[in-house]
Symmetry: C3
Subunit: 304 residues, 3 copies
């Protein structure tokens, strides 16, 4: 195991016993949800994974170590540290070398999960190509990480603030498979259907696991996207989220907001315009992903 990686007692015991482990990111805790829902959700998501017979391993950088599995106190520390660093691939060495507290994005969590030999990682949504990304080159490092690092990422697709069509094209060029659970199309975070076809529909964990095992047995580098749509009961209507996104884009245009400032502006406006409902949807989809991720980790373990 890499010198920087430290497993929690719970995760180390699971590893020793050969039980399935599921990685979780920490940006959603430090930056993605408000207090105290962030801490409550983090604990509930871990419990969903335990209830499905797997062991959760929330990942963060604390005290110059990659911590794989956090105590309740550490989860709380992150949940009350909105000033924690947001770590992508380029930032990870900084937090490790300086001892700064860091919450891991999709890209960094993939790296850390792989270093800890964990094959399944559950998040809310992946990053992607931003609208206008063909001109601005604003493309999340998550996509290159998926092209490189062999981890299956269970998500509810990607946010509609992104250009989902360009995101899928980018993944196709880089040979990253997109599996879809329960429907043919790629999911769109707050709403189940992006209107764009995923590569393969695979509803059950055993089928997903066989695909993933075949990919890695071939020596094909890189990850797999497991797109799991938010349950209909907790979803936001596509027309509504599309209208809100369009309104936020119009406001950005009207206020002359440009470049790097656009994304945080849009996310903040969408949050405000959806009221508390988007938070409820966000919590629901993460729990739903935790269930699918735990089942996938069990299936992978069983086929080992």
């Amino acid at each position: 195991m890499n010198e920087f990686v430290q497993l929690s007692p719970e995760v180390a015991a699971a590893r020793a016993d050969g039980r399935p482990i599921v990685a979780l990111e920490s940006t959603i805790i430090a930056h993605g949800m408000p207090w105290p829902q962030n801490l409550e959700t983090a604990r509930e998501v871990e419990d969903v994974i335990r209830a499905e017979g797997a062991v959760p391993a929330t990942i963060a950088v604390i005290g110059g170590r990659i911590r794989v599995g956090l105590t309740n106190e550490e989860l709380q520390q992150l949940a009350q540290s909105p000033d924690a660093m947001k770590l992508s691939r380029r930032d990870l060495p900084f937090a490790l070398a300086t001892g700064r507290l860091g919450a891991t994005t999709v890209a960094a969590t993939m790296i850390c999960a792989h270093l800890a030999d964990i094959a399944v990682f559950v998040t809310g949504g992946i990053g992607g190509v931003h609208r206008g990304g063909a001109e601005s080159f604003d493309i999340s490092a998550d996509l290159q990480e998926l092209a490189r690092t062999p981890v299956a990422v269970v998500c509810a697709g990607a946010k509609s603030i992104l250009d989902l069509g360009l995101t899928l094209e980018y993944l196709e060029t880089h040979g990253v498979p997109v599996l879809s659970v329960g429907q043919d199309n790629f999911a769109a975070f707050f709403t189940p259907d992006s209107g764009l076809k995923a590569d393969f529909r695979m509803d059950d964990a055993d089928t997903q696991a066989r695909f993933i095992r075949a990919k890695w047995a071939l020596g094909l580098s890189g990850g797999v996207v497991v797109s799991n749509p938010v349950p209909a009961a907790q979803a936001m209507p596509r027309e509504e989220i599309d209208a809100i996104t369009a309104q936020a884009l119009a406001e950005a245009d009207h206020q002359g907001i440009q470049g790097k400032a656009i994304t945080p502006f849009l996310l903040a406006r969408i949050k405000a315009l959806t009221g508390g409902r988007s938070l409820a949807t966000n919590i629901a989809l993460v729990k739903n992903n935790a269930r699918v991720g735990a089942q996938l980790a069990r299936a992978l373990q069983k086929q080992a």
Copy 2:
């Protein structure tokens, strides 16, 4: 050898004897040409390779295995299976995990050839950046495969339906060398001259082989494009193929065809507008590539 790879008796014997082997793709058989020309061409191309003193290894996924070298019956099965999966990097694990019949594209054939330790692969033309690809991100996974996988791909350039200038820029950024045989310029599939310079002209197989050996001896990842223009006698005039491409593009625009639908539409229209002549040209260029590929495989073997 990877667990999924199965060599045919002919290929296994060649390997044991240290004879040169040339990989061939199967998408051209299942999807690239009509019956029965597809089967006839597949056999004739294999014979060209044998006549040049090398052993052909046509690659496909059959029964959950990567088959390297096919029997006549298997070639016929593929030639009569237009519903075979078209496999790129992301799809390969699916065909292996499910047992589906699959024909390999340039990207997937490179992967399989490398798994079977075959250094030379002969095809018709590589994929590339589609026209409008800077906006649509429609860029073939073949280019990323060339950036990664150490196989020499002998082709007649890339189809004029693509943006050949952007394709060459993409290869340059990713450090993929483009060697040209018999002329300075990159080939353009149905017609010899794209009007764009390749990186190096290398007419004979020994020179090509020394370059390729030096690249891999340096540990430089990735492939090499060997651009081999269609012989003048079988080529289509550049003005004609450019005019036909322009007409097909105008028709697509007029009929409001957009996005993913454009490429199949253009290929079908060009086929119709050129009549049978494009098929004859296609067959001629593949045989011409087989000859060059076999000579290269022999030169590489000799220098080993």
Copy 3:
């Protein structure tokens, strides 16, 4: 050590003694500066590195070998060979296989330094995304090399002829960290401040070295950009270089210069429009980078 790599006696002795080594490129000698300033500068830059307690290793391809460390005679030979090949990743095997004389760009020098197990490389400026690169795909292979090859590249940023914003976005997507010395912003070659934030400011060599060691200890592939602004006393005013760049762009537009011809045209015009002053600035920034690079190599050695 790779079969193609040949260390000079000075570099081999440094390696045997465990002394720090700094790689230098040779394109700046063969193509980047006029005679005799190119030879004088090459020698002075080497002396700066020696004065800082490290050993310089100028890299070039001579006689079919990657020469790491050159004699005074060999430096002179390169300085008087404007017809030497300009080698990037795709070209390196050609010069090795044919015995042609070759000067190494940033990408090729990174490859050769890594083959010789040298972790720090000093240059003037890195390549990047060209203006209009979102449409033309004219993106230097240096950026992909930074994404892959584990070498720290000390530079004064990148030339203002490039689109520095797109260059930084591309590096971000590919997870390449950009460290800045003495200021928060990325440097802009002739002028200290690009107006764009780097990822991390790190003024001292020990801090830089700890970051770089942490990155590589994590197994994260790829390089690190160390952006070191030209000293204010030798810099050109930003308004002046911006105005000259704008004038050169307008001339290119007016004269109908397009595509691949634009970059050499702009570089030549900027050189002419700045008179000898741009050469003096160029020499000053390279020496300044040599000092920072030598200190970094010592710090990395000390922490080994």
